[in-house]
């Protein structure tokens, strides 16, 4: 159910649109910044409230987000590589599936290539600086 909701929101917000990504990287509209900014602002607020109030999740455990490992190279280099692909294909790993669901079957090629990219990363992982 959360997935269905996610799919609907991303289509209706146009965040799955290649054009909106292009516009964002051109700094020509506030739209995408408004979406990400308000999501992060509210996300941060509620995560903070959850932690402060020691809210339990549905399994009865305290709310805990696994911290990302420390590092610099992997985040800046990996992030930049991801950015190239994001701007070119206009789709990040969530929207790929959503767009496939909207009936754009050429997206299957992008998904297959993304799986291949992840596979190649797995092969090279131990040789790359992190």
């Amino acid at each position: 159910m959360v997935g269905i909701f996610f799919g609907i929101v991303l289509v209706k917000s146009e965040a799955v649109s290649w054009y909106r990504i292009f516009e964002m990287f051109k700094f020509q509209s506030f739209h995408m910044y408004g979406i990400i900014g308000s999501a992060v602002f509210l996300g941060a607020l509620f995560i903070w409230i959850f932690k402060k109030s020691k809210t339990k999740n549905i399994e009865g455990n305290s709310i805990h987000l696994p911290p990302k490992e420390k590092g610099l190279v992997r985040y800046i280099v990996g992030g930049t590589i991801f950015g190239f692909g994001w701007a070119l294909a206009g789709a990040c790993p969530g929207p790929m599936y959503i767009l496939l669901g909207t009936g754009i079957f050429s997206m299957l090629l992008v998904i297959a290539a993304a799986i291949l990219g992840t596979f190649v990363y797995g092969l090279l992982k131990n040789k790359l600086p992190h």
């Binding site: 146009e14 985040y75 991801f82 701007a87 070119l88 790929m96 599936y97 959503i98 050429s106 291949l116």
Partner: protein, 187 residues
């Protein structure tokens, strides 16, 4: 109903995305779409080639269910919750796209110049999709997350690595859009 059929403004969409993330956290999960690419590799038997893919992928089935839901959500949104309005891109964007040869700006979610089948089956068309997809798959795993994991969840949790990754997303995206697009799509 009219409001639902129109495109949603950012101040509706953004909070809804936060809600998606918070619901997943509340259910004891996390919001991270790119992890599914790794899971799909493992299901395909990639564990034979690299230890990175040797993990209990069955523990990630919930996330594949989210993917399936997202696809259904995409279908519902386009077929039942849309008035087919043109995306209200800024006029500057439409002009810039026209100089790059994209003349249908905003009529669909994706440019037919890249995603229509007749354009996919050309060397350039195939290259754009396959290289783009490959970079997304490789970069997201190297960086340990994508827009959902780093930009939304990581920043919400005030994590420095996620901020660095998001800066990386923009370095890559800006170079691609400003310097490489004119070379790739320019006349």
């Amino acid at each position: 109903m009219e409001y639902i059929l129109q495109p949603w403004p950012w101040y509706v969409s953004g909070p809804m995305i936060a809600l998606v993330m918070l619901m997943l956290v509340y259910f004891g999960k996390t919001f991270g779409m790119s992890s599914n690419l790794r899971t799909l590799c493992s299901i395909g038997g990639a564990g034979k080639y690299a230890d990175f893919f040797k993990f209990d992928w069955k523990s990630q089935r919930w996330n594949l269910t989210v993917v399936l839901g997202a696809m259904i959500g995409g279908f519902i949104a386009v077929h039942f919750l849309s008035d087919n309005s043109i995306i209200a891109l800024s006029t500057d964007t439409v002009e810039d796209l026209a100089t790059l040869g994209f003349v249908h700006a905003g009529e669909n979610l994706l440019p037919p110049e890249i995603y229509s089948w007749e354009n996919v089956w050309s060397i350039k068309g195939l290259s754009v999709l396959i290289i783009g997809g490959f970079l997304v798959g490789f970069g997201t795993r190297y960086a340990g997350g994508c827009t959902s994991g780093h930009a939304i969840t990581g920043l919400s949790n005030l994590q420095l690595p996620s901020l660095i990754a998001v800066i990386g997303f923009f370095i890559g995206g800006l170079i691609m859009t400003h310097f490489l697009f004119p070379l790739i799509f320019g006349a």
